[in-house]
Symmetry: C2
Subunit: 385 residues, 2 copies
């Protein structure tokens, strides 16, 4: 086991009706909230009105920044910072999925500085203070509700970047699986592929940590099981609850104990695809990950056999065959839940190859463990068609 630190001060409040208790958490913290939301689905669902009515009951003044898009841009965060400053906010309440919450984290840091939030992502600045962030999650996918990470993009310059800082742990996050029962089938599937990708990125990190490996495999195994179930039972509370909790676990630090950093090359590849073609993050990951696994199959053989056994109960005693079987079964699963596994399925054609490779290079896509050259980039990209 490698040395590690586990620190996650977010209070996660999970289950039916938990948002009704939001005043218990926000009242001790402040009096003026900026609410950040996406393009209106939380208004259509009635959740926004419910939140406003709760905040009114505990006399929290509020203003709302609306319109965060699903591949969120730093300009929205900068605009929301201005609104928060003008309003004199003392907290942020993010209501939505990963994009909204990641924007809210940027606003939390941006509130105390005079420069663009993008400077944090460019590693030109570090926050020394941040507004407290509360989240109400409506999409199970990214894990941002219980971690210190945020990803935004600069669309014009083709750059999508992540940033992490301990100040960015949400103070409290409310996870009511009921809110996810209306998520359409495609975004539900993208959430499942996203959470599986998070498991795999960390699993293929370096360091030997038996409990973490079994825990990671358990998350993937259940993501497959409930990924199938939710296709048939989109409204089933327990199915949605399991997927929501799996997604949080996949990136809240639970799967890193005793290991060094994960690999994260696949996230680099996917960020390029999303920033160039505006495809959903989870849809990109289900294309990228099988390609990366195939390219590294020999090096990863032992670990792939472990996953084949733990996730799919495959153990033939022939390691090469079992390693292949894991990749095949994973691809098959992605196909069955209708998340794409080839670029052509999202209308990205081989004519874009040069543009994509240039973006991989621009954004220095490189694995933490399995280091990549430009030749590797091209070979892995070829597996995506």
């Amino acid at each position: 086991m490698e040395n590690f630190t586990r620190f996650n001060p977010t209070k996660l409040i999970f289950g039916k009706g938990v948002v009704d208790h939001i005043c218990d958490e926000v009242s001790p913290v402040g009096k003026r909230a900026i609410i950040v939301i996406g393009k209106g689905s939380v208004k259509a669902s009635g959740l926004y009105a419910r939140l406003v009515s709760l905040l009114n009951m505990c006399s929290i003044e509020h203003v709302t920044y609306e319109g965060i898009k699903s591949n969120p841009i730093y300009q929205d965060a900068d605009n929301a910072v201005q609104l928060a400053k003008d309003f004199g906010a003392d907290m942020i309440i993010a209501v939505g999925g990963g994009s909204v919450i990641d924007t809210a984290k940027a606003v939390a840091m941006g509130y105390y500085v005079e420069h663009s939030v993008w400077d944090f992502y460019l590693q030109k600045a570090k926050p020394v203070k941040a507004l407290p962030v509360f989240t109400i999650l409506t999409l199970a996918a990214t894990g941002t509700e219980m971690n210190p990470f945020t990803v935004l993009q600069d669309t014009e310059n083709g750059s999508k970047r992540g940033y992490g800082h301990p100040l960015l742990h949400p103070k409290a996050s409310f996870l009511d699986p009921t809110f996810t029962t209306t998520v359409p089938a495609n975004y539900t599937a993208y959430g499942v592929s996203d959470l599986i990708a998070h498991c795999l990125e960390q699993f293929f990190g370096s360091g030997n940590s038996p409990l973490t490996d079994l825990h990671t495999a358990a998350v993937i195994k259940l993501a497959v099981e409930y990924g199938f179930k939710v296709k048939e039972q989109a409204n089933d509370y327990d199915t949605r609850a399991n997927i929501m909790w799996l997604a949080t676990n996949a990136l809240n630090g639970s799967l890193t104990a005793g290991k060094n950093s994960g690999d994260w090359a696949c996230h680099g590849f996917e960020h390029s695809l999303s920033v160039l073609f505006d495809i959903p993050h989870g849809a990109g990951l289900s294309i990228v990950f099988p390609a990366w696994l195939k390219y590294h199959q020999k090096q990863l053989q032992q670990k792939l056999c472990f996953l084949a056994k733990q996730v799919f109960e495959i153990e033939t005693g022939k390691p090469e065959q079992d390693a292949s079987a894991f990749i095949d079964r994973l691809e098959l699963f992605f196909q069955e839940i209708n998340t794409p596994i080839r670029l052509s399925q999202v209308n990205i054609l081989p004519s874009s190859k040069a543009e994509i490779l240039a973006n991989f290079k621009l954004n220095k896509v490189n694995g933490q463990v399995y280091k990549l050259t430009e030749q590797d980039h091209e070979a892995i990209l070829d597996f995506m068609w």
Copy 2:
């Protein structure tokens, strides 16, 4: 899945040499520490001298309360509170195992009140403030290094009681597995049985939570694997590291998500045995748990079969047989690591039966899920001989 809250703000710093960084954590918090230690083993090992030298380097004044016993008594906590008040401590550093840390938590609460700490355990008082607690763990067992619980006893009145409060989460805990390589074989084994008992108490709680169940089974499976290994390789860092991390996981909230409270009857039984006969907690648990499982075997059959499969890879298709096999294998494991499975092995004779049953009654030993009558007490006790 049941509604639940996950909140654990303790910063856990795990690995070789981590104590060297203690000043980074304590310096921002205060200037005057009360150090709490046991009966001298941390002095003999040199750890105490190392801590003192580190604290001197960052100008933390300190005073030491020494002599906490392995079934810790509230009187020691009251005495340490007085010392802390006289010294004007602004933090507590506990160096030792669960007894020392649990005492330190009592001191943290007691510092701000004028009554005995025992009043908290008797539910006569609640803390509104507590000193920050730092821990340096030297024994893998109880999980107190990363949870808000403490257990002390009133020996004269035959009462051992637990207390939990969010203020009692340690601020930071340092876990260097190296410190556990000198723990004698019997206490190492008691630590393993303690951590397995924590898993089982929570596993037999109510509520259906698939990820939590797989995670719990993984902790037990590895506790068995490394419990065997440590017998042969007491000095192996990686073996000790795994056991240490398993023990923390077994009671840091990781195994409660999506479930209602655990059962905890076995801890009640064990507390009676420890307070009456001063036996180590883990030694008591390896006697109590098999008895409780046998008594409830029919009701628990499905869950026992799950554990038989996940922990021991037993799956004959005959549920009654698999359930029995899990209990048998667990007992066999306890025997093989030399932690007792019958009262006679710790010199508690049938002539004490009435006294034990009276203590069960006095301390209202009752399961949270599988409720117990006095008749149940007697029947379960009979399985312990």
